[in-house]
């Protein structure tokens, strides 16, 4: 990432691609937080969005900007407006907690200025990730 100001990655609609995502993201500054947000979006697209089994299911582009990264996440799943999705009820007691909505909640904690649009067969999320010096997330 030090030489390339922009980097992109294609992923198949297969949960076993998570290792490839982690390897690709590891050279980035504050990679762990970015990894977490991208895993949540990817897993959501594969498990709930209908991307399972698609060859070129997800395309991710990360561009270095002052103080962080601009991130574009595209998936070929069903139309899904991430910005309008309900997040987890964090106050629910343990007996009622299944963990649903938790991934969406984490992405909203990690990413800024999230926008969604549908273009042809693609869900497109644009967002920013701010690197906080000395901070390491997940």
């Amino acid at each position: 990432m030090s030489r390339d100001r922009e980097s992109e990655l294609w992923l198949k609609g297969d949960i076993h691609e998570l290792g490839k995502l982690a390897d690709w993201i590891s050279p980035f500054a504050d990679a762990a937080g970015l990894n977490l947000a991208l895993e949540e979006l990817f897993v959501n697209a594969v498990r709930h969005g209908g991307c399972e089994g698609l060859e070129q299911a997800v395309h991710i582009c990360v561009r270095e900007i002052q103080g962080g990264f601009e991130v574009e996440f595209r998936d070929r799943g069903r139309p899904f407006d991430f910005t309008a999705a309900p997040a987890a009820d964090l106050k629910a007691p343990l007996a009622e907690r299944q963990g649903s909505g938790l991934g969406i909640h984490l992405v909203r904690q990690l990413m800024r200025e999230i926008t969604w649009r549908r273009e042809g067969e693609w869900n497109i999320l644009n967002m920013r990730y701010i690197v906080i010096e000395g901070e390491e997330v997940a």
Binding site: E39, V43, Q98, G103, L106
Partner: protein, 105 residues
């Protein structure tokens, strides 16, 4: 990749979790923790060698804690590394799970 090992110490079953608790590893993690909870009254998950956790990994911990609650047994989450602790903080889970610093024994 995730590695889970188990040992019994002073009445506690200590389940040491090593590696990455991502969506690929979560089912194995949940199975190992629930298996321990079904066999022991006091289980502590030692997360001192866990580098990464996502919502799928958190869900595995929630399911193990639910199993323990149903059995009226103890399930403690211990020694989380700073990056994993940060995800606990973001998730709000520290309010409903028994998350503690050191292992009970």
């Amino acid at each position: 990749m995730i590695q889970v090992t188990e040992e019994t110490r002073a009445g506690w079953c200590i389940v040491a979790v090593r590696g990455r608790a991502d969506a690929e590893a979560a089912d194995a993690l949940e199975a190992a923790l629930r298996d321990a909870v079904q066999r022991h009254n006091r289980v502590a998950a030692d997360l001192s060698a866990l580098d990464y956790v996502s919502s799928a990994g958190l869900r595995a911990l929630i399911q193990a804690a639910r199993e323990a609650e149903g059995r009226r047994s103890e399930f403690a989450i211990c020694s989380a590394t700073p990056p994993v602790k940060k995800v606990f903080d973001m998730s709000g889970l520290q309010q409903i799970l028994k998350i503690q610093g050191a292992l009970p024994c």
